[in-house]
């Protein structure tokens, strides 16, 4: 553990392998729907790959909304402390 900076988990080769592994798992979860019946309650949720598309798109939307709101809501860390002259 004396050479912490090149921990095997942080090596670029490992990270590349992890991305490959992750991608394969992602593909498998979608492909599995060929064999596994996903019960849809309202139509679209039974479509092929619905979970994948819906999960990805809703996260994209949430990140973008958060990013947009951030322009209005984000303040410097000392924002409240700066106003407290008497504390």
């Amino acid at each position: 553990m004396n050479d912490d900076n090149s921990h095997w988990l942080t090596r670029p080769t490992t990270i590349r392998k992890l991305w490959w592994g992750f991608s394969i798992v992602l593909a498998l979860t979608v492909a599995a729907q060929f064999f596994v019946y996903v019960k849809g309650y309202f139509g679209p949720d039974g479509w092929f790959g619905f979970g994948a598309v819906f999960g990805f798109l809703s996260c994209l939307a949430m990140v973008l909304v958060a990013k947009g709101l951030g322009f209005f809501l984000k303040r410097d860390e000392g924002y409240y402390a700066a106003g407290d002259d008497d504390v």
């Binding site: 994948a52 973008l64 809501l73």
Partner: protein
């Protein structure tokens, strides 16, 4: 008077004993009290156990039911878990306050009438404030005061509602109602304030992250979940809760995405998770209420686990911001693994407690044909993985190498984390352990191939979104404004403006008054004289002769008047 010992009373006695005991005895009290309380909780049968008459009202301090026992059990369990996590690091008064705080939560769980409920409610407010203050910093002190104001205000609103209900219905029973008039609305609002519902959700993310690393573990467990229990008991099926719950779910995700402080991320995700429960209570079917209760139970465990993991990091490094942390998996592997288990559980990954409980709520929405609610909850499930499931462990334990090489958590913290991790997985693998104790019979199978696959797709592609959008989520040294801006900034600005106006008016008035007084004094001086140099009319020195003459004149006048 009581056939069984009130569990809350045991907890309070334990809290007092903590102050009296020393050394190992104190540790024994901290760890033993919750276990004795747990035993007492399971001695309570269904129905009202004891009745006391107070001011002609039948007070029912203890009323048992499966739902009440379930919540009391998890509160006692958390008092034990939190005690184990904290007993070597926290100050004794923090532990003591935490036990009274837990006693309040357990008291509310068994409260058969609104008056008892209110008393325990306030007990929680008081001692949770003490726990916030135990953070020990000026920021914790200020946040504690804001926290106390919010909760005392909520208490007053709740009390107004209770008084109204008592006067107008004559009943103080804790029983289901709907928000149909002023009284019931006041009760609902009072409870929702404790549930961190909009528009006052900010009290939670303001205060919890300021407490000590051990304090936030206790804080995460009791207040909001007691509010969930109160909502299940008082407002099952209240439609307005569906909308409020969905708002909370989305609010928690968005704010957690913007946040930099690790514990504040977790605080926002409490609001998100409580939103799921509030929404379920609004749906109000047996499946939904079971889901709300089960999710509260599971949530307390994994959220405490996450706060423990964050607390251990803060305890070892002194940092809590994502920008300062990173790469800690190298030297804190156990804390990282436990944190990841908590993160997977909160995300509702299959084989964790989040999956077996949260999916019940989605199922309830599907059963009731609530299309919008169903899809919002599905989106939110993906969002939870995004903001808590990956974001928290990623920024704390991985991302960049912060260069920090802290030791792993102390043994007692580690033991508490391992215990809760096991429970999170146990309830995920054997959901029937929990289902058996839910308020209604459970007719639900969590593990069907289709459901597991749907959730895996939702979650894993949410993970893909996280890593692809990572550049958009670069941490910044910022906080996010919330509605508390209104009272922390706007109100304070208004107060300052009013103060300045009054002060300037005062100065003007003083000047005017000064001028007036000056002229009055000049005139007085002119008439009465003040200085030796220029005596006034009434203060001049008169010669004796003149005085004698005046006396003679007066006497003559007197004689004349008398004779005539």
């Amino acid at each position: 008077m009581f056939e069984v010992l009130p569990p809350a009373l045991i907890m309070v006695m334990g809290a007092i004993l903590i102050g009296l005991a020393r050394g190992h005895w104190r540790s024994l009290v901290v760890l033993g009290t919750p276990l004795v309380t747990l035993w007492a909780i399971w001695q309570i049968p269904d129905g009202v156990v004891a009745t006391v008459t107070f001011l002609d009202y039948p007070i029912e301090p203890i009323e048992g039911s499966p739902l009440r026992r379930l919540f009391a059990t998890i509160f006692a369990l958390m008092a034990f878990g939190g005690g184990l996590y904290a007993f070597r690091q926290a100050k004794w008064y923090e532990l003591s306050a935490a036990l009274v705080y837990a006693a309040g939560a357990i008291g509310v769980s068994f409260a058969g009438d609104l008056i008892t409920l209110f008393l325990y409610w306030e007990l929680m407010a008081l001692f949770s404030t003490v726990v916030v203050w135990c953070g020990g910093t000026p920021a914790a002190r200020a946040a504690g005061i804001r926290y106390a104001i919010m909760h005392l205000l909520g208490g007053v609103i709740l009390k107004v509602g209770i008084e109204g209900v008592v006067i107008h219905t004559g009943s103080i029973d804790v029983q289901p109602m709907l928000a149909t008039n002023f009284d019931t609305w006041m009760i609902l609002i009072g409870i929702l304030i404790n549930a961190a519902a909009p528009p006052v959700s900010a009290w939670l993310s303001d205060s919890y992250p300021e407490s000590s690393p051990t304090g936030s573990v206790f804080l995460s467990a009791f207040t909001t979940k007691t509010a969930v229990l109160a909502l299940i008991l008082l407002f099952p099926g209240e439609p307005v809760l569906i909308g409020i719950g969905l708002f909370m779910v989305m609010y928690g995700i968005i704010y957690a995405l913007l946040e930099n402080d690790a514990r504040r991320i977790l605080a926002y995700s409490i609001v998100n998770q409580v939103g799921f429960m509030v929404c379920a209570i609004g749906i109000g079917t047996e499946m939904a209420l079971n889901g709300a209760a089960a999710h509260a139970f599971a949530h307390i465990l994994y959220k405490a686990l996450l706060f423990m993991s964050a607390g251990a990091v803060i305890y070892r490094t002194g940092f809590s911001k994502c920008t300062d942390l990173g790469g800690l998996f190298r030297t804190m592997p156990l804390t990282a693994i436990c944190g990841i288990v908590g993160a997977l559980a909160i995300s509702g990954f299959p084989l964790t407690s989040g999956f077996t409980t949260k999916t019940m709520i989605s199922q309830a929405a599907a059963d009731e044909n609530l299309v919008f609610v169903y899809f919002m909850l599905a989106a939110a499930s993906a969002g939870v993985f995004l903001h808590a499931g990956i974001k928290f462990p990623w920024f704390v334990f991985f991302q960049k190498d912060s260069g920090l090489r802290p030791k792993d958590a102390p043994w007692n913290m580690a033991a508490a984390m391992v215990l809760l991790s096991i429970l999170c997985l146990l309830l995920g693998v054997f959901p029937d352990l929990l289902y058996a104790y839910l308020p209604y019979p459970v007719d639900y199978v969590p593990y069907t191939a289709g459901k597991v696959l749907l959730y895996l797709q939702l979650l894993l592609f949410s993970g893909l979104a996280f890593f692809l959008l990572l550049p958009l989520m670069k941490r910044t040294l910022t906080i996010s404004l919330d509605t508390d801006w209104l009272w922390r900034v706007l109100l304070s600005r208004i107060a300052r403006a009013v103060y300045a106006t009054v002060a300037s008016l005062g100065t003007a008035a003083q000047t005017r008054l000064g001028v007036g007084l000056d002229s009055l004094r000049t005139r007085a001086e002119a008439h009465f004289g003040a200085k030796l140099t220029r005596a006034g009319v009434f203060a001049r020195a008169w010669s004796i002769g003149t005085t004698a003459l005046w006396i003679a004149v007066l006497l003559t006048a007197y004689v004349l008047v008398y004779v005539l």
